[in-house]
Symmetry: C2
Amino acid sequence: MRIITIEREFGSGGRELGKRLAGSMEIPCYDQELIDEVAKLHNLSPEYIERISESDIRTVYPRTIGHRFSSMRAISNDSIKVAASQKKVIERLASQGDCVLVGRGADVILKEYRPFRIFVYADQVSKINRCLARSEKGENEKEIQRQMKYIDKNREIYHDLLSDTKWGDKENYHLCINTSGRTIKSLIPGLTAYIYDWFQNQ
Amino acid sequence: MRIITIEREFGSGGRELGKRLAGSMEIPCYDQELIDEVAKLHNLSPEYIERISESDIRTVYPRTIGHRFSSMRAISNDSIKVAASQKKVIERLASQGDCVLVGRGADVILKEYRPFRIFVYADQVSKINRCLARSEKGENEKEIQRQMKYIDKNREIYHDLLSDTKWGDKENYHLCINTSGRTIKSLIPGLTAYIYDWFQNQ
């Protein structure tokens, strides 16, 4: 089975890389689909799920999962339910067959599937330019920088709650891809070849 | 021009990866050749050059290159000459055309050539197994671990003297390759494809 997980810095193009890689390999990519599924399960809106699953994790994620219990005060019921569902949905999707999973700790959750783990990153300038280019709300550079810092911090916290390893440490990934000054599209054929070989020689 | 530089952890297979990659791309790989050339220049043995160019750098490398001068006491004349020659040889080799260069700060020295920079690493178990398999002197695990720590520390120091960036930080490389549990050979076709695309889309 070929499971590929992608962790990524905000603005590095990791989401696009996941989509394009899955397209090139002709397998599904779960990103927004994951959110939608969890939303449907709880009869909540996908926007709300996305917000609570990537923004408020530090205060809301149950620290009992693999870690010592510290404080329940700030934990909202929705967030606990959502985090637990997310884990179940990730496991179910992976069990269905080959796929690419973007973010949400899938690399840790699916450890037993021995996924090919990718970390996508870029320099600050490239990340800001990418965000500016895709921005729909017309945020300025400063707002993007703030958003970047906030989201990456939360991704790191989410990951570190699930695992003893540190988010972004190259040791935890099979391949770390720097997208600085590159189009994502241009990286896909070589990356696809690399991954095919990797699974073939397992 | 396609210049590829490889920095690597001791035992990760970086040297073999350089050789095989160069073979696959049909371009020269400079590693031992570099040592031999510097040795010839100074009429010293390659073994001696290798020893002083990777082992005693902390005490011998002139701290005046890009850094504040601190102490000349421990600097041996041979080592200064060798470090300077090494830099010149690296620059001359790169100016001749496409090539792969393994270690010795080539990624920093050749910055202006905009090389494709690779960092090769692996987990401790894989690195020790690789060393045990290729050991000619029959070192045991403990001796290899000591050697590993010592050589990687010196590579780090050498790199950090030439540059303000930190050796092994993924930000300084275009691709970080984890070779744990892999044969180097199996990684080459995909890697070659990735690098061809990278230079084509520059």
